[in-house]
């Protein structure tokens, strides 16, 4: 695993967080930091340089203290982070061999889709298309954020996805380096905004909700069921193009390297006084008053986070990718 300061050209072990402009990549990263802190495990996210560290701290503070979403930024590509795992305590085994995990460090890069190329002027900023392809080509793990709420209104997930994957495949597969004409990445498809009523109720309607016995008792969708929810949400997209997303992914990635997750960066609302999830009151977003008189949902009021941030399934895709990539690397090293 890499142990240097962020991404190096040719480093095969970075993870790219990728999604359409406005799909919540920056928030996802900040939520990842919060989730790792809450987990209190061996994993943490660190800045690869002082500027990236400050940016991460600022975003995390925004989400937790100010209870606002980080603004979209065009400078995401300037920052580098590392997903780091402390070495586990090493103990002697029965046969006197040493056990425990070595330290890991995986580069994490947050990539915007090339917004300008696709006319995504509403939120977020597009990065240069070539730079995006470069970044994806250098990574071996991709967190692909699928925003079902955005898909309902904008219906542009497929248009952001297909061109980039086609270019990436053209770049990487032209040399016949990988033998099977498939991209070598592991892909974590994250259905985001699980905390939104439309997503929650779709999962509820499909009978996919489970209630683990954790502190907040927020519902979850099992990773095994996440693909079903993804399909249903794609089918509900008014553009009709979202149904092309899954076949497109299957066209470029090995199916066994794709895993689906249902995630929420902020989680459901949990009343701090009660400390429990209430199925009758789940929304963790609240609009702020504006001077324009009576308005309703969707009318563009500024939004703030209502209660404590409790990320759902944000850490898990990263760790799954990290483990898969580490396993593959170890296999290569063992094979000489």
């Amino acid at each position: 695993m890499s142990s240097d300061q962020g991404r190096r050209p040719g480093d095969p072990h970075s993870i790219a967080i990728w999604g359409a402009p406005g799909s919540g990549k920056t928030t996802f990263l900040a939520a990842l930091n919060i989730a790792l802190i809450l987990k209190n495990g061996p994993w943490r996210i660190i800045g690869a340089d002082p500027g990236s560290l400050d940016f991460l701290k600022e975003m995390t503070d925004k989400l937790t203290h100010q209870r606002r979403f980080p603004e979209a930024t065009s400078t995401l590509s300037d920052y580098r982070w590392l997903l780091s795992r402390r070495p586990e305590e090493q103990v002697k085994g029965l046969l006197g061999r040493r056990k425990g995990s070595p330290a890991w460090r995986i580069g994490v890069n947050v990539l915007d889709a090339p917004g300008r190329s696709f006319g995504a002027e509403r939120t977020g900023h597009g990065t240069d298309r070539e730079a995006l392809i470069d970044e994806l080509a250098l990574s071996r793990g991709i967190v692909y954020l699928f925003d079902p709420i955005r898909e309902l209104t904008d219906g542009d997930a497929f248009s952001h996805l297909h061109g980039v994957l086609a270019d990436l495949a053209g770049r990487m597969l032209a040399k016949d380096e990988f033998g099977d004409d498939m991209l070598p990445h592991y892909l974590a498809v994250c259905v985001t905004k699980f905390d939104e009523i439309k997503v929650l109720e779709t999962a509820e309607k499909l009978g996919l909700l489970g209630y683990p016995e954790d502190v907040q008792e927020s519902p979850r969708v099992d990773d095994e069921d996440a693909e079903e929810l993804f399909r249903e949400l794609c089918a509900a997209s008014p553009s009709g193009n979202a149904r092309l997303v899954l076949p497109t992914l299957n066209q470029f990635f090995h199916p066994e390297r794709i895993k689906f997750f249902v995630t929420s960066s902020i989680g459901f609302y949990v009343d701090p006084e009660k400390g429990r999830f209430d199925p009758d009151d789940v929304q963790n977003l609240t609009p702020e008053a504006s001077a324009d008189g009576p308005q309703g949902p969707g009318s563009g009021n500024r939004i703030r986070i209502r209660g404590p941030v409790g990320p759902i399934n944000v850490m898990e895709p990263m760790i799954w990718l990290g483990q898969r990539m580490a396993g593959e690397q170890q296999g290569k090293e063992a094979g000489g």
């Binding site: 009523i197 199925p279 609009p287």
Partner: protein, 506 residues
């Protein structure tokens, strides 16, 4: 003592008619010296036996002029409302051989009960026809006729039948507090009542249109009223003692009134011409004004001025009888930095003057607090504490029971919060108050009416505003105070035309 042939026939036909129900039919075939006549009978939705007489099929060699029964009146032509006239009529009778006549007479529904009546000596065409009919319908009951023609006998039996359904007179009942009118029924005749029975009712007739007041009789079929008759008469307004006489099933005659004429308007037309309310009831009234305090200051000032106008209007109409309550409500807070401001009961049951003073203070204090034309009240922007306001009002009114006229006037724009997560994405009420349940609870108060003045036009307003303005609603910019109060039923709306009699109050 043995029964005569006529008695036996009468009893058999009475029993057969009594068994008519639903879609069952009865066909009585009279084989007479001149030819064959069939009578179809069924029972209509109101429970009245109805029927028609088919044209006589004459024996070969007979003519219409030669037939003695040709002049016998049909029991279903005379005064039988809803009966179908005989097909072809007696004058259209044609001569046929006996067997053929019999066969023609048997074109009957297979499920109809058949009674064959021989009204002439056997032999010749009569005997052959009876034989053919018995062969065609072996299940038919065959009887000998007496001296009375079957048509006359049937008419007498039908007229003597007891009522199969109760008969009521359609009246209007006026709510003693709100003046609201609703259709109701005044019982006239119970089931099993027979012709000649009398029933007396006292009604109040209000001014009607040029066609008069409608006296409609309905029969009840499975809790559903079925019209029996609809007549109208032009009457001066006043109280009338009316005697209804059951002439026979299907016909009620009213005395104590000038001659009634058949009403041609459709029932839908008549019902839709009933005004929602009648007249201004007298007595004290309580006006509860609930004002939403969210939104721009200019909007709030306008709401307060509209409330002031209505207080003035009502106080003028109900001098000394009006009490006013003033309640304000705003937005819930879902931000711990912004304290929740509960519903504020500024006044409860005070005089109109005191309420006006409070409105003035409220407007001044709001104006003083305002930071400009577009100042926004902090708190949740997509809904307001409508549900909390309703709960507060319901709590103060207490359990239903009082008959004092009460008006809940809601003035605002925003929808209520739902009691739990909702597809609208409006956050649920922090106290989980259910606005619909509160409205239902308030509707149980017999004297309470709802009025709403909404900033939004109806097509843009949340459906809750239709409930809040159930009795009267207006847009903030186009309020007509006089008309609004008339809609609420607390002031006189002018001359009203009432198509049905009102149940007279004792």
């Amino acid at each position: 003592m043995t029964e005569s042939g006529e008695d036996l026939l009468r009893r058999a036909l009475t029993e057969a008619i009594a068994e008519l129900a639903g879609s069952r039919r009865l066909v009585v075939v009279e084989v007479a010296a001149e030819g064959v006549t069939a009578f179809d009978l069924h029972r209509d939705e109101a429970g009245t036996s109805r029927g028609r007489e088919r044209p006589m099929t004459r024996w070969a060699g007979q003519t219409a002029e030669g037939g003695g029964d040709g002049a016998t009146p049909s029991p279903f032509e005379e005064g039988s409302e809803g009966a179908t006239p005989a097909e072809g009529g007696r004058d259209g009778a044609t001569a046929f051989p006996a067997e053929e006549a019999a066969v023609r007479a048997t074109w009957l529904p297979v499920d109809a009960r058949v009674v064959l009546v021989r009204s002439a000596p056997d032999g010749g065409p009569v005997g052959r026809a009876m034989e053919a009919l018995r062969a065609a319908r072996p299940d038919a009951l065959a009887l000998n006729g007496g001296g009375v023609p079957v048509a006359v006998l049937l008419r007498e039996i039908v007229a003597a039948e007891p009522l199969r359904r109760p008969y009521d007179l359609v009246v209007l009942r006026r709510h003693p507090v709100t003046g609201r009118l609703r259709l109701a029924c005044q019982p006239l005749f119970a089931m099993e009542t027979r012709r000649g029975a009398l029933s007396e009712v006292t009604v109040q007739c209000e001014p009607s249109d040029e066609r008069g007041t409608v006296f409609a009789v309905v029969a009840w079929q499975d809790r559903r009223p079925v019209l029996v008759s609809v007549h109208a008469v032009k009457l001066p307004p006043g109280r009338y003692e009316v005697t209804a006489m059951l002439e026979r099933p299907g016909r009620v005659r009213f005395s104590g009134l000038p001659s009634l004429t058949r009403e041609d308007r459709s029932w839908t037309e008549l019902v839709s011409s009933v005004p929602a309310r009648l007249g201004p009831p007298s007595g004290p009234a309580h006006l509860i004004c609930a004002v939403e305090t969210t939104g721009p200051e200019v909007q709030l000032g306008e709401r307060l001025r509209r409330v002031s106008q209505l207080v003035t209007e009502l106080a003028g109409e109900l001098s000394g009888l009006l009490q006013v309550s003033l309640v304000t409500y705003g937005a819930h807070s879902y931000d711990p930095r912004i304290p929740e401001r509960p519903v504020d009961v500024v006044d409860w049951e005070v005089s109109p003057d005191d309420a006006q003073e409070s409105l003035k203070i409220l407007e001044e204090s709001r104006a003083g607090r305002a930071t400009g034309h577009g100042a926004a009240e902090p708190g949740y922007p997509y809904a307001a504490q409508v549900e909390d306001m309703l709960a507060e009002v319901a709590g103060r009114l207490g359990p239903p029971g009082g008959r004092r006229r009460t008006v809940l006037l809601t003035v605002g724009a925003r929808p209520p919060h739902p009691p739990r997560r909702h597809a609208s994405e409006i956050l649920p009420c922090p106290r989980r108050v259910d606005w619909e349940r509160q409205v239902r609870d308030l509707q149980r108060h017999p004297g309470l009416v709802f009025g709403a003045i909404c900033d939004q036009p109806p097509e843009r307003a949340h459906p809750a505003w239709a409930r809040l303005g159930e009795n009267a609603s207006a847009h903030l910019d186009t309020l007509d105070p006089q008309g609004f109060c008339a809609d609420l039923g607390v002031t006189a709306p002018g001359v009203q035309r009432v198509p049905f009699p009102l149940m007279a109050m004792p």
